[in-house]
Amino acid sequence: MNIANILARKGSMAVTVQPEQSIREALALLERHNIGALVAVQGDRPVGILSERDIVREAARNESFFARTVGDLMTRDVITGQPPDDLLTVAYTMTERRIRHLPVVDQGRLVGMVSIGDVLKAQRDQYQGEVDTLQTQLLAGEGGQPR
């Protein structure tokens, strides 16, 4: 299982903003799409990521955080994934480095975003499936013929 398999069943692309946009606009996007992070882009190239955490951190110490820009608060050193990256490695990297949202790029172009929730759900489904299949084989022979 790899990142492409997660993106395949997520109809939506990553929601993007421009670094010049205000935090007020960014919050409106987070609210409208009911998500936790936005990818800041220049053209279709990701240049940063802005998470709800980044906004909360700023809000706690700066009353006028609304007026700041995405570029002020975003994390610039973004770790990105690629469609063929395998989930085991991705899950490890995301948990170890406390990454909740991973923008996915293909040849430098943003093609989607996966969350830690997406990755863990895919892994759970994979393990459930394997357990189910192993149980079926162990029970083979009890009642009936295979086709």
Partner: protein, 467 residues
Amino acid sequence: MTPTTGTSARPLRVAIVGAGPTGFYAADHLLRNPEVVVEVDMFDRLPTPYGLVRLGVAPDHQKIKFVTNAFDKVAASLRFRFYGGVEFGKDVTLADLQAHYHQIVYCTGAQTDRRMGIPGEDLTGSHPATEFVAWYNGHPDYRDCAFDLSQESVAVVGVGNVAADVVRILCRTPEELAITDVADYALEALRKSRVREVYLLGRRGPAQAAFTNPEVRELGELADADITAIPQEVELDPLSRAAVERSQDRATLKKVEMLREYARRAPTGKSRRLVLRFLVSPVELISDGAGRVAAMRLVRNELYATSTGALQPRATDRFEELPVGLVFRSVGYRGVPLPGVPFNESWGVILNDKGRVLDPDTKQPIVGEYAAGWIKRGPTGVIGTNKPDAAETVECMFEDLARGAVLEPTRPEAAAAEALVRQRQPNYVSYTDWLKLNEIEVARGRAQGRPRVKLTSVEEMLAALGR
């Protein structure tokens, strides 16, 4: 007042397109709901159910096929009907289904293979592995395929489960195959096989190979084929070693251990040789001058870590040539677009969000259409992985029903759907018919000490049903 949809007065009518594992898992989740009365009609273009369990799972892996016992239990529901031999887009159209059902679920799988995209790929003797698999499994559409088994050297590109199946079938003795349900014509052809050397080619290292440990072990236990590997290729490179140690991935360590042991094995004089190769990619198939594959040019790869730490191959400038007369590629699979159903070209799946089919322009769900299984997420996982996948889709279906977002069919009665099918495809196969075919196959097998002898053409099947 019209009764609510999903009650015994007005059951929720669902059409499932595709009778593979995902179709049955979806049907099971639908029929199990204690609060909604659902009726399921399952369509398949073939007369037989079970999809890849019958036509993909290797004949020497009979235990995996026992999952069909669970499918038969689903099919035993009085609210389930099977319409075998009825093709979506040909015998019944999307408009037909919209007129007869509240919801439609596409479970059509990943029906085509990815190409290698290299010169010479279409030379005679180069085939998709899936064609070979469908052929030896008795798929009616592939029974007339021909593979030149007079060749002595064969390369199988890819190290996933399909590739492992193909090399096993090529390396098995006629005696090993004769106790399976491999198609009779394939058994005859494989009996005459002159294949001596089989190469399995992986573009990454042993730690990244997709085949599972039980499959790796099986390859080392073939009755008349010696397995071998190249010592340098099965040693872990520093990046892979670090990754495996970091994640404490014991299964991968075990896999690499087995492969290293194969590299140390001395030949025991068996008549065939299976060579596992890693960190190589085909870059060209070379012609014999008459349009046939004579050799394969390979490039050596090295691994590099992407920013998530995943290891991917990168070509070096070292090449080699492998003389082979037959090539099977198994480098990935894609779904095939269905007529009138939005498709996501990037991932080779139906355009969907958690199984809800999306309008390509608005990216909003299309009422009444859903996808599950490989046509929803791409070909990955084992058979059982499709169970939670189908559950997610069915959850969306019930949510949409609760919101009233279902189709409004003009003829939502089981009898009307049956009349339509009968008119379009009078020779359709019901589940009762299939159970008869099954008994015939099993009886034919019993006489030969085999699990079954498959009927491999639609005409044969219909004749067996007295039509």
